[in-house]
Amino acid sequence: MTVIVGLEVHVQLNTRTKLFCGCSTDYRDDEPNTHVCPVCLGLPGALPRINRTAVEYGLRVAKALDMDVLEESEFARKNYFYPDLPKGFQITQYDRPLAINGTIEIEDDAGREKEVRITRVHLEEDPGRLVHRGGGDRARYSLVDYNRSGIPLLEIVTEPDLRSPQEARRFLVKLRSILEYLGVFDGEREGALRVDANISLEGHDRVEVKNISSYRGVEKALTFEVTRQKNLIRRGVPIVRETRHFQEARGITTSSRGKEEEHDYRYFPEPDLRPLRVADWVAGIELPELPAARKNRFMEQYGISLIHARTLTGDVKVADFYEKVAHVDPLLAATWVADTLLGELNYRSMSIAKVPPDHFADLLSLIKQDVVTDRAAVQILRVMLDRCAAGEAPESPEAIMERLNLGKAAGGEFTAIVRAVIEAHPQAVEDYRSGKKGALNYLVGQVMKETRGRADPRELGRIVTEYIETSEV
């Protein structure tokens, strides 16, 4: 049964001020209701004025997605009552959005390139935020914070071109990547992205799932819906066309019966705002290098593999970081950033922005010059990251190496350890001498343990063999 999915993605544009007033958008750590003014509070007589930068950001996205910008677009009022909406209406765009007809390329489930059509993008204001103390189910009242009210949102609507929950997730990852490359969006900010998804199984009615607020959430919500709808169909129960809410914590969707019975928003053109005539701005917009182009350049310029290039260019911050450390050795840097650093960051839920590139480059130099083993380098990296995560002053990799004695073991210290291990394990030595070659691995392992990974295992194998064969122990 073919799965058909279309998305409506709302992203907060990272302008300094709100869409229609000069209140700061940097509200996340602040007290509730401290970033509001008569305009975003909907006080009588207050007049909205359009933020030029928000329009420019919207156009940047339109150009990057190869869209047609409308000669004239306009804002409209969407009327409904809800406490997160102080005016009793939301200023959005309706029948004349900023731009229409774009595309984003993603990989389908078989790994082939496919185009997802973008129906439209439009600007609108974010509603306020509702807080429910004691958990959503038990709270007896809603608490309203209007700091978010009026933050510029770009709504990006796709055609029903996605064919699986996994594709939907890949689409969002790609979209985020493009938006961050364009410098109009910061996906690390909490609540910066919200998604509504339309999903149906071919030949049946569709269901709208609201309230999805993460990349993983989209895949989870849609996977749940596919199973739920398939089960209903199997039992001969018709799919009801309805709106459902995603309960992130429980990983399920629930019907929001009747709550939105009045889908009568009575849209009309916003009388307080003049139309936009900005189609001719597009030619003057200079787009930065986008993910696909950067991926190809990385392969050509640095000689790295497609897999590494793809991983390194998916996130603009990672790509920038790589380019700052690639001078040490492009291949070594690709491996250590893509295969090691990203995993360690992911484990700590930490942003690459917190890692000092010069220290990471120094660590790469230590590895390249064979001053530390790979294992010791990972240990040094972990200490570096833990310090950054804890907000402590960064320490150079050399300093960490010396402080924790993680430099490659050599000379007298080394021989002493080998001798001590061999003397402590006569049985293993005898086994080796009587032909059980596996015993060597055991002895090497013991030496590795004693040196805490500071020795190169292959080199060690040679030294231990030599020692056993030349000594009388």
């Binding site: 302008t15 300094r16 001020t17 007033c21 000069g22 209140c23 700061s24 007290e31 509730p32 209701n33 401290t34 970033h35 509001v36 003014c37 008569p38 509070l41 006080l43 004025r49 359009i50 933020n51 030029r52 930068t53 928000a54 329009v55 004239e72 009327n79 009552f81 809800y82 406490p83 509702l130 807080v131 429910h132 959503g136 709270a139 007896r140 009242y141 809603s142 608490l143 309203v144 914070d145 209007y146 709550k259 009045e262 009568d264 009575r266 705002l273 003049r274 139309p275 936009l276 005539r277 900005v278």
Partner: protein, 89 residues
Amino acid sequence: MVSETDIEHIARLADIGITPEELAEFTSQFNAILEYFDILDRVQGAETPTPELSNVFREDEVRPSLPQESVLKNAGSTEDGYIKAPRVM
């Protein structure tokens, strides 16, 4: 012509309660207003000129917001800086 059913619907959307007497009164008032616009629509040569003004912007510069105590002044009920509202999900 609008009916009493239309007026009930509009009242519900506007979230206001109206009495049966008001319903009858508002229905006739709505119709009187609509008739008036019908007359205007029939006037020849009265096309509305399209205003030329477009692209009215402000720059993306932060302006001071209101102090929290002023913001909360109009709220019926507050808690820890939030405005308290009937529970909605």
